[in-house]
């Protein structure tokens, strides 16, 4: 179990419980977090669950895989801390994770 905070593009923050083994995207959808579309349902095929990982957490969430980097080409305003939230798996180590969501996904 981990707490995850989503900060939307207007600065509103929402903290929710996340189950170990699930993904940040699934946690967002389950909790109706805005600005996460996840059109493809987690197949790493659409880049509409793009998030910015808070700088304090980028080391723990790790780097995007090659396939994820390819999909990030379809996202907008990509930054070095950009990730697709369907590819970040929740574990105790991510308790307290903060991610920001972009204003536009699709």
């Amino acid at each position: 179990m981990a707490k995850i905070t989503f900060v939307d593009s207007e600065g509103r923050s929402r903290t929710v419980d996340a189950e170990n083994g699930s993904t940040v995207m699934e946690t967002a959808i389950r909790n109706s977090i805005p600005e996460i579309l996840a059109e493809c349902g987690g197949a790493c095929a659409c880049a509409t669950c793009h998030v910015y990982v808070d700088d304090a957490w980028t080391e723990k969430t790790g780097k995007a895989s090659a396939m994820e980097e390819d999909m990030l080409d379809f996202a907008f305003e990509v930054q070095p801390n950009s990730r697709l939230s369907c590819q970040i798996k929740i574990s105790d180590a991510l308790d307290g994770l903060v991610v920001r969501t972009p204003g536009k996904q699709g």
Binding site: E39, A45, C46, D73, F74, E77
Partner: protein
Amino acid sequence: MSETITTDVVIVGAGPAGLFAVFELGLLDIRAHLIDILPRAGGQCSELYPEKPIYDIPGFPIVTGQGLVDNLMKQIEPFHPTFHFGEMVEGLETLGTSEHPSFRVTTDAGKTFECKCVIVAAGGGSFQPKRPPIAGIDAYEGKSVFYAVRKMEDFRDKNVLIVGGGDSALDWTLNLHPVAKRITLVHRRDEFRGAPHSVNAMRELVAGGKMDLLIGQVGAIAGDNGQLKTATIKGNDGAAHEIACERMMPFFGLTMKLGPIANWGLNLHENLVPADTEKFETSTPGIFAIGDINAYPGKLKLILSGFHEGALAAQKVHRYVYPDKKLTFQYTTSSTNLQKKLGVN
């Protein structure tokens, strides 16, 4: 003016639900044409997750998105459906009455269909190019910002800005290079997903000083009356580059948009089409909605739901297409009549 295609049913969308509807209609001697904006059958299965395994198709412990589509295509072969790919249904006009419905369907490619019933199997809507979040871009779209090349001549002697790192971006970089005045390719990183020979060809042009490659993202565009003049590129090096460009082509993949379905006079609820659960008919008699696009109490967006919905819709379609024929329910395992249609007997 092209001729009008007359058929029993037009199916909007060639994803798994639309494909299986062909099978259920075919068993009842009903002919169908399918129209899809994508260049191939399969909808989301082929477009979003061709290689991903699906685990909840009855009878298939595991099947990939493309594997399922290939099997469906094989299954419906005996019914010879006609596909119209790369076209979007724009207009849907009611011609008949609620007892004897008929419709005129028109596509953005200028085709016209007349049919007795329409099955909307449009999933999440139509796949359309993603529009980059650049302020004011909509004013340029169709005039100097394009998501596809309709006429190469539109790009002759122009400074063309191409954005993206996949095959579309690379192919158009190479194809437009001989025509355009100067091509600038902008991509967010110095790695490209496209076919290696395209990447190499692009790199050679850059090395020879014949085009420009900038690593960064488009920040702003400027021009007037829809005619683009300059773009500002935020380089990954932190610098801002202003470049002259009269044409821009952004390639950020596809996204699903409801599209013209909203204009067809159907009741809509949160971008879904409400349907009954007996025959999956919409508020307009003769128009059915199956698969992810429909809504009813308890709806699950599963492929198997779309199959069930198609089977039930076909029963009612039969009544519209053959008002005087009695429909006897038959099984493919035992009916020689059905087996004949399937070409197995």
